[in-house]
């Protein structure tokens, strides 16, 4: 059952999200932030103003009317950047720092892994890999990778 929230969202000419509260106050540059970006991406999304103050809380993305959900989703997709690694093509060395060439859901790229400790074990079998610039790469299921990728990865775990 979808109940319309008491605020309105729209996108302005600068591509920024605008939120108008029930009281008629308008905030520009509103940013949706997932509270659990990895473990539960669709549960709990905060709409915060540019100063980091929370304006609204979305319990579940599916609660929102379609139009607003589309706005929030498009804004999220423009902000979220956690490429998911599908395949490891090559690694420059098994000692760190090592340059990895990977195939992700967002295309092929290379990044530098500074140390093994930058590979974070999430709830098994997921892994989160931080590169030297702090971009996070996700491996959703490391056992589902193909054999060569698993062999590469194994040397770092």
């Amino acid at each position: 059952m979808i109940t319309a929230p008491d605020y309105r969202l729209q996108r302005n000419a600068f591509g920024r999200l605008e939120l108008t509260t029930a009281g008629g106050e308008t905030h520009t540059g509103v940013v949706p932030v997932r509270a659990f970006p990895i473990s539960a991406p669709d549960d709990g999304i905060g709409l915060v103003d540019p100063h980091g103050r929370e304006l609204a809380w979305i319990e579940q993305l599916s609660e929102l009317p379609d139009e607003m959900r589309a706005l929030v989703e498009s804004e999220l997709s423009g902000r979220e950047f956690i490429p998911e690694i599908r395949r490891l093509i090559s690694v420059s060395s098994f000692a760190t720092p090592s340059t990895w060439q990977v195939e992700t859901d967002r295309g092929t790229t290379t990044f530098v892994l500074k140390g093994e400790e930058d590979i974070r074990r999430l709830d098994s079998p997921a892994l989160l890999i931080a590169d030297s610039h702090g971009i996070h790469f996700l491996i959703r299921d490391r056992y589902a990778l193909d054999a060569p990728s698993r062999r590469f990865l194994d040397r770092f775990l």
Partner: protein
């Protein structure tokens, strides 16, 4: 627009004529045809993401006529000539930068890129703004200033040729032949090593004598006796004394060799440990922030020990084994070539087997190491936090965490052992088969009168030793791999270049007046930009208070001024010199730091006060303690200044510890003083005492104070209000209160809380009074 921005625009205008770095080869072909005859490329940014955040190459170019963008996906070229109202801005979030081109009423375009190229984006905006200005006002950009990095335009330090920003980005993997790198530590002991090797050679030769003597014993004594001849006692005595002599010589030489080499390897291990620790301490705060204490302790402690044992025992044994094999082969060949060849037949097979297993074991042992560090990390996490664990009754959970880590350890070990356990028996089997071949071939040869029984006996005696050695040699595989893994982990530390590098041509400041200038300082931690474009000038002797919510970047700023981290953008100057061009240790001697939680080392109070100046006299220590209002409570302790503090030492209260750390800062008499929440962990009464101590400390020094309680900053000459990494207000308490801005709100919020506290305590007092009356 503060003074800083003026400074930076003046500076950027000055950079205008610096010729742009050449376009990347991949783009030259596409950009060049687009350019008009007199058009010149000034800056460019290679972007690696498209609008939907997929990896895809593109380029944004600033020329003297327009802004241009193209992507690898399509052939079209987008172009925006300079016109009033255009702005180019960048922002970043979670590792992705956004560059936005806006007109006054709408966004014209935006581009995304990963932060590796963020510096180039900054440069692009710089050039764009400058050109736009030029087109609108007709003011010619000023000529270039020297000493700027050609690729990112960070001002270079005096004498430094390499840009500190760009050189940070180099990532080189260490070489695989890590163990050979230990040679650097072996070099000082060349003499002893040579002596040890010679002794090995001699003692191995001595051990090879007895099997050789079995040949004449067999052929000249035993076989003739069986054939009816009497035994010659003199001959027997000669051979037997030969056996005894060889054994004695081998014993003495072996002892000398082992002793000398153990001595040397112990020293190499100790040197390695010290070098690692020494290097570790030079690494920046950033490194320690990213590592766990347990892991670092394991590396310096047990890894060096493992390498040490490898050098003193395993490598030595291995060298001896190789010598023995070479010598044995020579002897066997000299006795009988054909039999020798047959005897040596299994050797290549075993060598191959060793090689196969080596590869599998190496990765296995590396993993075992990492898993072991995981187990110690659990300990390092839990034991310091034991109060929290107990308070929340989570012992069972922590135990299960340990059990999980341990189970993981077991599992990995099991996998390695599966390969490893197969290894030794296989070698033994091969040994037996080898012996079998020698027996069969030998008997056949004796039957056809090619060799004597003595020769076969000697061969069998040699070969059983020989294969025995091969068996022990096979053990070298695992220990070498373990040691190599250990060496790799050690060299990981040694190879780590401090992110706070020493300048190549340091500038020395004889006297520091304490003038600090921050010029457009920005700092990025990972992908999060913590502070941006902060510019403050602090006069010598001035006291500046940093104010702001937690997370506003106050402590980061202090860390940057102390050079625990290096700025990502901009520069910090002391007396007009970039702090990056001063030797790190020398620079920090000018700074006295008092932290929120004073750290006392294990040792006496006097030692702790004199930590920054170990040569201080007792009179100086007492004077510093007096000035810090610590003298009296120190005298109340049972052993006065000789009382032990620190871990397991005398328990001191927070205020007492703080005053000791103030005395510590006073003793080195620094021109610059930094108080990082020096009074916030104590109650108000203690705060007053500490404040008195601080008043002595602050006098005549440039002071930067962070305080959560605004009341403690009343004496500050100037307050700098920070919010989310930027300076929002600067002024004295009265000025800031008058303008009713950020500071005013902070102050009011706190004042309200203080009032509440006061009213609460008065209520309690009243209650207590009531209680007494009843």
């Amino acid at each position: 627009m503060t003074a800083a921005n003026h400074a930076s625009t003046a500076q950027s205008a000055a950079l205008a004529k610096v010729s742009a770095p050449p376009l990347p080869a991949a783009w030259t072909e596409r950009v060049q045809p687009q350019l008009a005859a007199d058009e010149e490329v000034l800056a460019w940014l290679e972007i690696d993401l498209d609008a939907s955040l997929r990896f895809s190459a593109g380029i944004v170019v600033v020329s003297n006529a327009r802004l241009m963008a193209m992507g690898s996906g399509d052939e079209s070229v987008h172009s925006w000539p300079y016109q009033p109202g255009l702005t180019l801005t960048r922002s970043d979030h979670a590792g992705v930068g956004t560059l936005e081109l806006c007109a006054t009423d709408e966004r014209l375009a935006h581009w995304r890129y990963t932060l590796g190229t963020d510096v180039a984006a900054g440069r692009l905006i710089d050039h764009f703004t400058r050109q736009l200005n030029f087109h609108l006002t007709g003011r010619l950009p000023a000529p270039a200033a020297p000493g700027v990095c050609p690729s990112c335009e960070t001002p270079l330090l005096a004498g430094d040729e390499q840009c500190p920003v760009c050189s940070k980005e180099i990532h080189q993997p260490p070489s695989t032949w890590t163990l050979l790198r230990l040679g650097r530590f072996a070099r000082p002991y060349r003499g002893q090593l040579l002596a040890g090797f010679t002794l090995s050679l001699l003692s191995t030769a001595a051990t090879l004598v007895p099997p050789y003597l079995t040949m004449p014993l067999m052929d000249k004594v035993l076989i003739p006796y069986q054939n009816g001849q009497a035994i010659d006692p003199a001959l027997v005595a000669l051979y037997l004394s030969g056996l005894l002599g060889a054994a004695l010589v081998a014993w003495i030489l072996g002892w000398a060799r082992t002793y000398i080499l153990a001595l040397v390897s112990e020293r190499i291990g100790a040197d390695l440990r010290t070098a690692t620790y020494e290097h570790l301490l030079t690494l920046s705060q950033e490194y320690f922030g990213g590592k766990r204490t347990g892991d670092l302790m394991a590396r310096i402690g047990s890894e060096t020990d493992r390498i040490n044992i490898f050098l003193s025992l395993h490598l030595l044994d291995f060298a001896t084994d190789v010598l023995m094999i070479v010598m044995t082969t020579a002897i066997l060949m000299s006795i009988d070539v054909r039999l020798a060849l047959v005897t040596l037949l299994p050797l290549p097979i075993i060598a191959w087997l060793i090689h196969v297993v080596r590869e599998r074991l190496r990765t296995g042992f590396e993993r075992v190491d990492r898993v072991w560090a995981e187990v110690t990390n659990v300990l390092a996490d839990t034991i310091p936090g034991i109060r929290v664990v107990k308070a929340f009754a989570q012992e069972a959970r922590e135990t299960s965490r340990f059990r999980t880590a341990n189970a993981h350890n077991l599992e990995v070990n099991d996998r390695v052992n599966k390969v490893w356990s197969l290894f030794s028996p296989s070698v033994t089997l091969l040994t037996e088969i080898g012996l079998l071949i020698v027996w069969a071939f030998g008997i056949w040869q004796i039957a056809s009168d090619h060799i004597t029984v003595g020769v076969l006996t000697a061969f069998l005696a040699y070969i059983s030793r020989f294969y025995l050695r091969l068996d022990s040699m096979s053990r070298i595989v695992s220990v070498t791999q373990k040691a190599a893994a250990g060496a790799k982990r050690i060299f990981d530390i040694l190879d780590h270049v401090s992110s706070v590098p020493e300048p190549s041509t340091p500038v020395h400041l004889a006297k520091v007046t304490g003038r600090i200038e921050l010029r457009g300082v920005g700092f990025r931690y990972g992908t999060r930009s913590v502070t941006r474009d902060i510019s403050i000038d602090i006069a010598p002797g001035e006291m500046v208070g940093l104010v702001g919510h937690s997370g506003s970047g106050k402590s980061t700023l202090v860390n940057l001024i102390c050079r625990f981290y290096d700025v990502s953008e901009g520069a910090i100057l002391i007396d007009g010199v970039d702090i990056r061009s001063l030797p790190v240790a020398e620079y920090r001697q000018h700074i006295g730091l008092v932290l929120q939680e004073p750290f006392l080392f294990f040792g006496t109070i006097a030692e702790n006060i004199a930590y920054g100046k170990p040569a201080a006299t007792r009179a100086e220590i007492v004077a510093a303690a007096r000035a810090a209002h610590a003298h009296e409570f120190i005298l109340r302790l049972p052993h006065g200044y000789d009382s032990l503090v620190g871990e397991r030492g005398q328990a001191l209260s927070g205020g007492e510890r703080q005053r000791i750390s103030i005395a510590r800062a006073l003793l080195i008499d620094p021109p610059i003083l930094i108080l990082d929440e020096a009074t916030s962990s104590v109650d108000t009464t203690t705060e007053k005492e500490i404040q008195k101590a601080l008043d002595n400390l602050v006098r005549g020094r440039t002071t930067i104070a962070i305080a959560h309680r605004l009341s403690t900053l009343r004496d500050a000459d100037r307050l700098v209000v920070l919010d989310r990494g930027s300076v929002v207000e600067v002024g004295s308490h009265d000025q800031l209160m008058a303008c009713e801005g950020h500071y005013y709100r902070l102050y009011l919020a706190q004042a309200r809380n203080v009032d509440n506290e006061d009213s609460l305590s008065s209520v309690e007092l009243a209650r207590a009074a009531d209680g007494e009356r009843l």
